[in-house]
Symmetry: C2
């Protein structure tokens, strides 16, 4: 067995989820991680690039819906393994598939594929800081430095210090209400849960065995029956389908002992709304983010973006305008999460070609 200290981390990139929060750009057939939201490259490609240093990282395992196989292979260079989920069962079963396909002593770095990390170097430092604990069978989470009392994210409360910049995770908190979020920011010691985890494969499996045995059993059966074609792995569909659908937070993190948190001020965003993309993007002097075939005349604090028709926005404030060749969204920036209402109405009216 190789010297543990020289062992490479195995990135596990989760590329599931459809998501309508960035409609009309994100669609059933083109999920958020396949969009180039913050530059010329897709979120998935940027995620893979963050863990591309061969001195530290092994080729990544990507877990993705079966229908995304070609798209993932096109976006992720140096792919190690592509696990194709026959059905979507949320993150805990997806991560179980990866752990069961890894070596027991592999240290896995689980990464959502559709989040933004502004400071990649500092992120790498945080991962290295968590590594000794992960090797010692801790589950290591990363606490994204909050800069506002956001109610759209979960929080992790820091407990006792375990090492320099590493704390026991005292508590996981689901998306709080506004007053609770404000109290967290005022008190300090709370970080956003960015859904990034570092742990040994066997530690994860043992945790699931104890706290989510049905998920582990289904994943085990699916892996026993899986088919392999080159880098592609197809877990057995019927077995995997029997897994409960649960997030890794619910299934494991909130229950497990020996969970650590490494605070990481890495300018993270889940880009969960057009407002969040505006927040995370570089702006012009008037606070606008203008991308594609778009023009702002005397506009301020707007996100205006088109990959279709020319968009001319005149005299508007705090507005989101996003155009594709077949659909245009117009919504006040602070209401941009309401895009779901439009998508639901389109579905209800039988206009699914636009969703």
């Amino acid at each position: 067995m190789a010297d543990p200290a020289s062992q490479l981390i195995v990135p596990v990139i989760l590329s599931g989820g459809a998501g309508t929060r960035l409609w009309p750009l994100s669609r059933a057939a083109r999920p958020k991680q396949m969009l180039a939201l913050t530059g010329a490259e897709t979120m998935l490609r940027l995620t893979a690039r963050r863990v591309a240093d061969p001195a530290r990282y092994a080729p990544p395992i990507v877990v993705a819906p079966a229908e995304q196989a070609e798209a993932v292979e096109a976006e992720v260079s140096g792919l190690g393994m592509l696990i194709l989920e026959p059905v979507a069962r949320n993150t805990a079963p997806a991560i179980a598939l990866a752990a069961l396909n890894a070596a027991a002593n592999d240290v896995l770095l689980v990464l959502p594929s559709d989040h933004l990390i502004g400071d990649v170097e500092r992120f790498g430092t945080a991962v290295q800081r968590g590594l000794p604990l992960a090797r010692a069978d801790w589950i290591v989470t990363f606490g994204m430095a909050p800069d506002r009392a956001e109610t759209g994210y979960g929080y992790i409360k820091r407990g006792a210090a375990l090492a320099e910049g590493v704390f026991a995770a005292e508590r996981f908190v689901e998306k709080p209400d506004a007053a609770t979020a404000r109290s967290f920011i005022e008190q300090g010691g709370y970080d956003w849960n960015g859904g990034i985890f570092l742990m040994r494969a066997d530690a994860l499996i043992q945790g699931l065995e104890r706290h989510a045995p049905a998920i582990l059993a289904a994943a085990r059966a699916a892996v026993e029956g899986q088919a392999r074609e080159g880098l592609r792995i197809r877990p057995e569909a019927a077995a995997f389908g029997r897994s409960p659908a649960q997030s890794i937070d619910h299934a494991l993190m909130e229950k497990a002992e020996r969970v650590a948190v490494v605070p990481a001020a890495v300018r993270w965003s889940d880009i969960g709304s057009w407002a969040a993309l505006h927040e995370a993007s570089d702006k012009d002097a008037q606070g606008n983010v203008v991308e594609g075939i778009a023009m702002a005349v005397d506009a301020s604090n707007c996100l205006i973006r088109s990959e279709g028709p020319l968009v001319a926005a005149i005299g508007v404030e705090d507005l989101v305008v996003v155009a594709t060749p077949d659909a245009v969204l117009v919504v006040p920036r602070q209401q941009s999460q309401r895009v779901r209402e439009a998508v639901e109405r389109l579905k209800a009216e039988g206009k699914s070609q636009w969703t």
Copy 2:
């Protein structure tokens, strides 16, 4: 000579003008009168339909740019004559061409092709009311009943009563400032100048001879050299090109004697902006006008219209969103005249394909 009382009125429909005020729907190649703004039919077709009663009106003379010949013939059924302007020279020269091609004793009803008249029956009544004066060599204008202190229109001040519902036109006022417009509405006795005129052809020619001889001379020379193909008449280009470009208001109305005004509460609008179209259109319970492939979710007092991509507008107020397959406009309703700024910038940036 026929009994004057049974003589048909000859409509003269002016179909010139490009107009960018309704961009992106109106374009250099598709002017406002060729748009179906208030229903299924184009403004030009609606204009022709207003004067289609064969008991009262002769087949219309249309004056249009040469490049619009096919479009006019497609829109105007029962066309009498199509005068194709070789170059645009504003309304006075265009009307002169029509008068010189009509019989001297024809009573002409001059109509812009891109205005809305909500109450067509009442409009017909107003025309009949003005007819005796027009036959007696007066120039009869129609005073559109104002319902607000609009600064975008010219005004006509009523003078002495000449007959029931007919007054001498005491004064023509160019687009006033806001304070002046308010004083007009408070005083009463002022109507909007809708650019609709009724007069004998020879009365018009005599008026031009006295007040705008250069225009009349150019039009005369152009008509002397004109070519005829079926209903199409092509005035001689070089001669017509020598005409000053002037509106009929400037060239004649403001100067002539024996000008009458018939007040007409016909729900008139020149639809000179997206705000004016919103004003003139039927609205839903939230004050929205939604046309085409468009959806309003919790929007109020908006104009949302698409003939291209699906438009979903959520949570917006007092906004104009207009989409075509290649361009989308987003502007606050009360700033909708600023569309010119976008068009000018597109031209300046060499993006004339969108103008």
